[in-house]
């Protein structure tokens, strides 16, 4: 398990969520220190987790460490934005 966790909050009704998941997947392949998890809001557990995080728009990506949330990206992230997040936090991990 990586030191950093990247959660992608998704829903099947969200047409841009697949792009966010794909970009997050590609990123974590290049940065194995980041663990990727998708949270599907169709599931009751996923919805509960999203509500606990105060998520109102999907896709949303939350990067966190054991200390808590480090960064939140709302909407489909640009590749360079994701890469920048990974570079900053991977160097700290």
């Amino acid at each position: 398990m990586g030191d950093l966790l990247m959660r992608v909050f998704t829903h099947p009704a969200c047409s841009s969520c697949s792009t966010a998941v794909r970009r997050a997947w590609n990123l974590t392949q290049a940065h194995p220190e980041i663990e990727l998890r998708t949270v599907n809001l169709v599931d009751a557990e996923g919805l509960k987790e999203a509500q606990a995080e105060g998520i109102k728009t999907i896709p949303t990506i939350i990067v966190s460490s054991a200390k808590g949330e480090l960064r939140r990206l709302v909407g489909t992230p640009a590749r360079h934005d994701l890469e920048a997040v990974a570079q900053v936090f991977s160097s700290r991990a």
């Binding site: 099947p12 047409s15 809001l41 109102k56 728009t57 999907i58």
Partner: protein
């Protein structure tokens, strides 16, 4: 725009809470009907929508469309009787607009009510609707509405 647990209720519409639909006065004796933000959230991803055809008379409480989502299949009911004068073909060809734009692109049918404006006036204005939907959401243990990026409220 009223906001209730992140669910949006535009000011210029009227609502039927039990049927979870809205109506818009087009100013020409016709009214558009569609699903509320709450309804589209409850339904989840809409994969099919089949509005009834123009020229069909409908009774109050009867179906004007059948909607199928990943977790629900059911009717969209009209709160008033009348004649369907138009249907939104885009709701059938691109059903995701019911999720993404429930109040604009996602209208379902246009109805000319049998008893004119009185039918529309009988629906709830936004403030009353927000209070009623609050009770509805509590009763049905509904959480917040969550919108896809680009949601057009």
């Amino acid at each position: 725009m009223a906001e209730l647990k992140n669910c949006l209720l535009p000011d210029d519409l009227r609502y039927h809470v039990e049927f979870n639909v809205w109506a818009r006065d087009n100013g020409d004796g016709t009214y558009d009907l569609g699903m509320t933000d709450i309804a589209q959230t409850m339904a989840g991803a809409v994969i099919h929508c089949r509005p009834k055809k123009a020229g069909k008379a409908v009774k109050a409480g009867k179906s004007v469309a059948t909607v199928e989502s990943g977790k629900w299949v059911g009717p969209v009911k009209t709160p008033f009787a009348g004649m369907i004068v138009a249907r939104n073909d885009a709701a059938e060809t691109e059903p995701a607009i019911l999720n993404k734009s429930p109040y604009r692109e996602g209208w379902i049918v246009r109805i000319e009510p049998a008893d004119g404006a009185a039918a529309y006036e009988g629906l709830l204005a936004v403030d009353e609707a927000a209070a009623a939907f609050s009770e509805y959401m509590t009763k049905n243990e509904l959480g917040e509405c969550i919108h896809c990026e680009g949601f057009d409220g």
